[in-house]
Assembly symmetry: C3
Homo-oligomer: 308 residues x 3
């Protein structure tokens, strides 16, 4: 039963609960017209204490496409929710106006705190470097959409594996399925932290490399992420390494015909734009699936259903 629950971190939901959400997301995707009014009369508060246009748009679009409405702010400055008011009080007040809250905040733990004071469900849309669970839901739905199964996959994750919170969440979430093998592709300086490896130990296999080129031919899924210049000790090191972790049309030639290329976006230059037209490049569709999974999530937490 997901009605009335919060989503603070991806592991708040069991594999079965996630399946329920993905099934609904797929049904919405197949017959969106059926859902155009299910949230009629419902109101979502979108509280962005840190700007994130893309994430905000995705939630706003999800709620509107279900026939609901949205109020909120997208900017820490215009909000200044009040003169010294505690976040706890703000949460109580807002939760008296609306049916569900989506919150993003630069401080870790904020979403949890808000969920403890809210009278309505709270969805964490990112709290600091901590969690961004709807991105993980988006990633999982994308894998299911293209691979039709969460089991028996070889998944390459490439780029900044040290700081990439999106990738950590995905790796942990996928390790809950059967016969998963990860390939961690990164410069040594940005390799997967030990505590993540320990967490998947015994659940999934993994190997490590610094060459995308050498392993791309074996993968079912390639999850790209950004390699930020600032992470490197010096410019020279950055320039020497960055090309290893850029996906080009040329590198993609060695990949399987049914491999998929994912990316949480925004992309800077880690995927060349000439890859966009390749049918394996699913990152834009991934963004679209993110809207559908949020539609399903909102419906489940609100407990609304379509009349069949």
């Amino acid at each position: 039963m997901l009605k009335g629950r919060d989503l603070i971190e991806p592991t708040n939901f069991t594999v079965e609960e996630l399946d329920e959400i993905f099934a609904l997301a797929n049904d919405i995707l197949n017959d969106e017209k059926k859902y155009v009014d299910v949230c009629h009369g419902k109101l979502l508060a979108s509280l962005f204490y840190e700007p994130s246009t893309r994430t905000k748009f995705s939630f706003d679009a999800a709620m509107y496409r279900l026939g609901g409405n949205v109020l909120g702010f997208s900017d820490p400055n215009t909000s200044s929710t009040s003169k010294g008011e505690s976040l706890a009080d703000t949460t109580v007040v807002v939760s008296n106006y609306v049916d569900i809250i989506v919150a993003r905040h630069p401080r870790e733990g904020t979403a949890k705190l808000m969920s403890e004071h809210s009278r309505v469900p709270v969805i964490n849309a990112g709290d600091g470097g901590h969690q961004h669970p709807t991105q993980t839901l988006t990633d999982l739905l994308t894998i299911q959409y293209y691979k039709h199964d969460f089991n028996n996959l070889k998944i390459g994750v490439c780029g900044d594996l040290m700081f990439g919170r999106t990738i950590h969440s995905l790796v942990k979430a996928m390790s809950r399925y059967e016969n998963i093998e990860f390939v961690f592709i990164s410069p040594k300086e940005l390799s997967m932290p030990e505590y993540i490896k320990e967490e998947i130990e015994g659940k999934a296999k993994y190997s490590e490399t610094n060459s995308l080129d050498e392993v791309i031919g074996d993968l079912d899924v390639l999850y790209m992420s950004r390699v930020q210049r600032e992470r490197f000790v010096n410019e020279e090191e950055y320039l020497r390494l960055k090309d290893y972790f850029i996906l080009t049309k040329e590198k993609l030639e060695k990949a399987k015909e049914d491999m998929i290329v994912m990316h949480p976006l925004p992309r800077v230059n880690e995927i060349s734009t000439d890859v966009d037209d390749d049918k394996r490049a699913v990152y834009f569709m991934q963004g679209r699936l993110g809207m559908y999974v949020r539609m399903a999530l909102i419906m489940k937490l609100l407990g609304v259903e379509v009349d069949d």
Copy 2:
């Protein structure tokens, strides 16, 4: 007849007109589903030339919950409604797009000015230190909701009584009812101004004290407000006095079982959080009632009615 009228200051409406609004607010509260589409196709402009997230949210939520829509801005900078355009022109233009205007502005008299140029009703959501009439409506509805009558009440107002515009409006509004007795609780430095006392002279009784503790046991309603540090001549004075005007669980023990504690929010530290769970603490419900009274107000000024 409230249709087409403006609300610039609380006294724009007679006691009978207020009763009409409160009756509607109560009906919405009891059967919200009935009202979910009454403002379908109607548009509200929410013009906040000064940020006030809470007030803006309350109006936005009110309009959405009636099935209407909202456009507007919440920030003086992003608005810059135009290159040197007069507020009169802006008002004409906006009133050509929408059905009702809600405006907040740091300059006194702005709402009045706008109402003179608008082709649709204007609601003052605060103009400088001047008026904030929907807060007064909220306060009145809260008293009615909990005390079932506006007459025969002993009302303590506590905190900064010198500058608190919310409190001045409430005192004036309540003095229109029968057998009202006020207790003004404040440090001498922040006591109720003479012109307010003169205004209620002959209509309501009042007494003054600087000790909340001594009078709390007699009250039917305790209206708390913030005591701002900046108001005191020196820090020493502030520290000496502030505790007299903080409501704690301990002080509340002496109060009647059916006294209610009100606060316009945001609260800083003038009410301890351990008071929140007491059933007499109604300030969060007061915020919720503020949304319902705004729903009723919008309906009345637009002249829309529910089909029975």
Copy 3:
């Protein structure tokens, strides 16, 4: 067939296509209730990379009045659509969430670029000093509304004719009709550029003057625009000339009874406020017509129709 098309510059549409839009705008104006739900379930993204409250409101109101919804931003700072993401990527992503995009950007050519990457129609709401086609549509609809015909008109355009992009577009657009005569009224320093005159050569007649007073009696339409102080070499020159280009009640006395005074707004002081009450002053209605023409445009590009 306008469904699925973009509007990047006014000449994207033929005279016949414009007629189709104006016919629909007039029908909406006459029977707005009929259209209150035609865009139910549709979503518009309003991307303002440069603030323009008036234009944003006009589009927002248009979409809401058709029963659709709007997401977006109104401020370059809160948007920061992402960390270095290309506008092309942003466009793909947003166009995956919505049904139509309205964009304003300070850089020329942006709307065109976006239309090349969007999966849904793009409406240019202004790109730099370049184009602002819905203002031109507004101006044309206003002329049709009051003069009932686009042909056989003597049109005075007054003010800053050198830099006024709105005026350039209008002159080009009107020169597509029969027997049009322009009177260009401006100080020499701000006279109509040669390339505009060349463009209408052979299509419409024109004359030039620096005295509004001398020609106002002959005009069917007077289109006023702002004369900005900054355009003049020195203050003295500005003070000497500005009065020639200010419309007063007195000057208006010489005009025909059925002449109309238009202005794209915001107006500063180039039209005295005592002109506002004259029935020939149609600039506020022009703003209202701008909303109706945008309603018609959105319907046509989305391909939605009212059920008769």
